[in-house]
């Protein structure tokens, strides 16, 4: 259990992620975010809980749905807005777009090929282990990703070599329109950990404190050098797979409503209220966050687009300087 101050900080981060995401959704609807935006709303407790335990030198690999992880890892919200919008000043200077950026100062990577991060994260962890560091690699991926060959190969490699990778499977119940029950033939994805001799656990991914607690142990174990950890976070994405997808083809309004009742922001807020914070304090916090996000967005909207020269720069290190 976290103390009041800590929970308050987590709540603030949840708000940042949510409002950031909702502004992005609007930008996508206006075609200002041009494509590849995948909303994170509903899953914030995972990114916030996990990343709150990480150090700057820990490395995060994320997916096609990276904004929450990136911001929680420390990326500047203005830079992430810019990247979404394809503007200079973005984390990848606007050339990567909403699902492919690298924020080196914050040791953050993502990419749009499902499952591919697992082996690469293992490689980062190998480097840390060889160098005698206690930094760790964290790899986020989805329920759908657990059906990729890269998942299996990467997890196995990390397991046999005891590499410090924290594998976080965000089971948000769908991979695009594919319901997890139909495509993953085990009731808990964490059961897959046993194929690698690991103890997988499943955690309520809507509850930021549950995420925090489970991950605290995991991070300690990893820093102590005890091999990879696999945690399934049970969560839900509130919006469609991408901004504007045909949700009705695969899920009902009722189902969404049930999960929305367990909104991670609502859960955290209720808990803060129970611990004595006032409605006013929390409302004020939220409106401040929202205003800040709006300001960041406005700023980002004024940034220039990269030129073609900029966008085609750095394909390789020039020969002779490599």
């Amino acid at each position: 259990m976290s103390d009041n101050e800590q929970l308050m900080e987590l709540y603030q981060q949840l708000l940042v992620l949510r409002h950031f995401d909702e502004f992005c959704y609007d930008l996508k609807m206006k075609d200002l975010i041009m494509n590849g935006f995948h909303p994170y709303s509903g899953q914030e407790a995972v990114a916030v809980g996990v990343c709150s335990l990480l150090r700057g030198d820990d490395v995060v690999f994320s997916t096609h749905r990276p904004q929450g992880h990136s911001i929680a890892k420390g990326s500047n919200t203005r830079a992430v807005f810019c990247e979404m919008l394809g503007r200079r000043g973005g984390v990848s200077q606007g050339i990567g777009g909403p699902m492919q950026w690298i924020d080196k100062p914050h040791n953050f990577f993502c990419g749009s090929i499902v499952g591919s991060g697992l082996p690469i994260a293992a490689g980062v962890a190998l480097a840390f282990k060889r160098q005698g560091l206690d930094s760790i690699a964290v790899c986020f991926f989805g329920d759908g990703a657990s059906n990729t060959g890269a998942f299996h190969e990467g997890m196995n490699l990390a397991a046999i070599w005891d590499l410090p990778v924290l594998y976080i499977c965000e089971n948000n119940q769908y991979g695009e329109a594919m319901p997890v029950q139909e495509f993953v033939p085990v009731s808990r994805i964490s059961q897959r950990a046993s194929a690698y001799g690991l103890n997988g656990i499943s955690v309520d991914g809507m509850d930021v404190e549950a995420v925090l607690n489970a991950t605290t142990d995991a991070v300690a174990q990893l820093r102590a050098g005890n091999g990879p950890v696999f945690i399934e976070m049970i969560t839900y994405r509130f919006r469609g797979h991408y901004g504007g997808d045909p949700e009705h083809t695969y899920r009902s309004r009722e189902e969404i409503a049930v999960w929305r009742n367990r909104d991670p922001l609502l859960l955290a807020r209720t808990r803060l209220l129970a611990r004595g914070f006032s409605e006013e304090t929390l409302d004020e916090l939220e409106s401040n966050v929202r205003a800040e996000m709006e300001e960041d967005m406005e700023w980002a909207l004024e940034q220039p687009f990269p030129t073609v020269e900029q966008a085609t720069d750095h394909v390789m290190i020039p020969l002779g300087q490599d």
Binding site: G94, Q100, I113, G144, G175, A177, M178, P306, V308
Partner: protein, 324 residues
């Protein structure tokens, strides 16, 4: 004749083949519930049911292997790889297995599988979702590689692909899905290895594939106003290649430009240019000009992604220079 989009042409043709032959089925990620990312199989799940419209898990290797295995035993799968960039995960199954079984069995087994996928820019999805990888497959014996540029060609080539007992890779283009064109209503097929002259002309032959055909046609239109008459040839299949059609044209025009969206080095432009050089050396006024994509990862964004691959302007410049 019906006017329809390239996307609808895929759907109608697929539906037609599914109706015609019980052994045909479609397999791919979200081809069912979603009816494909672009709607290219919308409604098919409802008509044909989940046994014939199979939503695959995110397992490109398994999906590809599954298609191959089922093709060995009487099925005629159409396996959809959502983006050609993901074919990197399916390469072993395709290249080391699917395309080799006919020869390895000394002709005893046939592998009537169609791999459908789409490449190129147009969805502003940046470098992991916009590549032009077609030439990899041209260098692989045992595989037909088709790249239709119009709804009518799509229909005819897709029908041929489904009905062929050879493995076929049919590469669509995301910038073509919502282009429209006239499509004959009969059950026609287009044979592999037959190029099409998309626009006849006299001064220069422009060889272009897929979406680049549209750029070439636009260039030809602009250049016509300048008094330059361009012949635009679309090979339609990269392998087998209708060398004769290219050669006949260039022997007449004595000038040739090859356009590909992929970067020049190691791409198909080298193959096409070589064929022309080899067979039209005496007639060519100048060497074949290649107009190709920049050697870069495809950047995000409408303007940028289009700025790094050839457009009508690039082609016009090349033609003007060539004829200068």
């Amino acid at each position: 004749m019906a006017r329809m989009s390239y996307r609808d042409a895929i759907r109608e043709t697929t539906a037609g083949e599914l109706r015609r032959d019980e052994s045909v089925y479609l397999i791919g990620e979200d081809v069912g519930r979603w009816g494909n990312l672009f709607g290219a199989s919308a409604g098919l799940l409802e008509e044909f049911g989940p046994a014939r419209i199979c939503d695959s898990p995110i397992s490109e290797a398994a999906m590809t292997g599954c298609a191959i295995g089922s093709a060995l035993y009487g099925m005629r799968p159409i396996a959809e790889i959502m983006y050609i960039d993901f074919i990197t995960i399916a390469m072993d199954q395709m290249i080391n297995h699917g395309v080799k079984y006919h020869q390895l069995s000394n002709g005893q087994v046939r592998v009537p599988v169609v791999f459908r996928t789409q490449g190129g820019v147009g969805m502003r999805n940046s470098s992991q979702h916009s590549q032009s990888l077609e030439n990899w497959f041209v260098n692989v014996p045992g595989l037909i590689v088709a790249m239709p540029s119009t709804p009518a060609d799509l229909c005819g080539l897709l029908r041929s692909a489904v009905r062929s007992d050879n493995p076929v890779l049919l590469i669509e283009h995301k910038s073509l899905y919502f282009t429209r064109g006239e499509v004959p209503e009969d059950d026609y097929t287009i044979p592999f290895g037959v190029a099409d002259i998309k626009r006849p002309g006299e001064d220069v032959t422009i060889i272009a594939t897929s979406w680049m055909v549209l750029q070439a046609l636009a260039a030809a239109k602009t250049l016509a106003d300048e008094g330059i008459s361009c012949e635009v040839i679309d090979p339609r299949t990269l392998w087998p290649l209708d060398k004769q059609a290219l050669v006949d044209s260039v022997k007449r025009t004595k000038n040739c430009v090859v356009v590909t969206e992929a970067p020049a080095e190691g791409g198909w432009s080298g193959e096409a240019a070589s064929v022309v050089h080899e067979q039209c050396f005496a007639e060519l006024r100048k060497p074949v000009r290649r107009v190709c994509g920049m050697r870069t990862g495809i950047p995000y964004g409408t303007d940028l992604e289009k700025a790094v691959v050839p457009d009508a302007g690039w082609i016009c410049d090349a033609v003007r220079e060539l004829l200068a």
